[in-house]
């Protein structure tokens, strides 16, 4: 009885704690751009050139997670006048740095570079997402158990069919 009450309290405690824990440095504020996890964030603008090199320029887009310095995305595009338009989804509710660089295609030198700090807002996973994921994982485990039991029973049947009785000494 005591065990059941403890189990009930444990489950209630875990499920009712709605505290959202953000990754390190995600709530420092003062960033250039704001985004939400799992939603498309648009980066649009124009990098002014001083007339060096010949168009079309290469536009290099980098997204870096500041928490551990991991490169999240790196894509390249072309632009004739230095304008750019990128869209990406952030996976982690932490602070990121996005850098957009205009590159001279002939010399591969960086003509202009713009760095933006992006504060990505993390939020608690929606109930539907949690339910679906949990159901999928439990299905995998249940499937494994069914296969395990079936294999075990099949082996037993096969041994009995052969006349082998390992339980008989």
């Amino acid at each position: 009885m005591r065990f059941r009450i403890m189990l009930l309290f444990t489950i209630l405690f875990i499920t009712l704690t709605k505290t959202v824990v953000f990754a390190h440095g995600s709530n420092q504020g003062g960033s250039d751009h704001h985004a939400r996890v799992g939603e498309l964030a648009n980066f649009e603008g124009k990098l002014e050139t001083t007339g060096e090199g010949k168009s079309p320029y290469e536009v290099q887009f980098h997204a870096l997670r500041l928490e551990d310095g991991a490169e999240i995305l790196s894509i390249k595009s072309n632009s004739t006048d230095g304008s750019y338009k990128f869209a990406m989804q952030f996976f982690d509710g932490a602070e990121h740095q996005v850098s957009i660089a205009l590159i001279n295609p002939a010399t591969k030198s960086v003509l202009v570079e713009k760095k933006l700090s992006v504060e990505v807002e993390g939020f608690h996973p929606p109930f539907a997402v949690k339910f679906k994921t949990l159901a999928f994982l439990l299905f995998v485990i249940a499937f494994g158990m069914v296969v395990g039991v079936s294999v075990s029973r099949w082996g037993k049947t096969k041994r009995n069919w052969k006349g082998d009785h390992p339980h008989v000494a």
Binding site: I14, A23, V37, G93, P125, L137
Partner: protein
């Protein structure tokens, strides 16, 4: 005159919990609790402990 009820021993609650389907269901239930706690719980100590695992799994796209 004595009466023995053998069936009462066979179908009691203890034996019912020793049956394979009930045991598998119990394992599945416990697995559900562990998975929920590890991957979805907002409880700070648990979250911090498995933060890297969540990222490595690429399974839950928000936190």
């Amino acid at each position: 005159m004595s009466h023995k009820f053998e069936h009462a021993k066979k179908y009691n609650v203890k034996n019912m919990f020793l049956s394979l389907p009930v045991q598998l269901s119990a394992v599945l239930f416990l697995a559900g609790i562990v998975i929920y706690t590890t991957l979805f719980s907002g409880y700070a100590p648990v979250h911090d402990a498995v933060h890297e695992l969540r990222h490595a799994l690429m399974f839950i796209p928000c936190h």
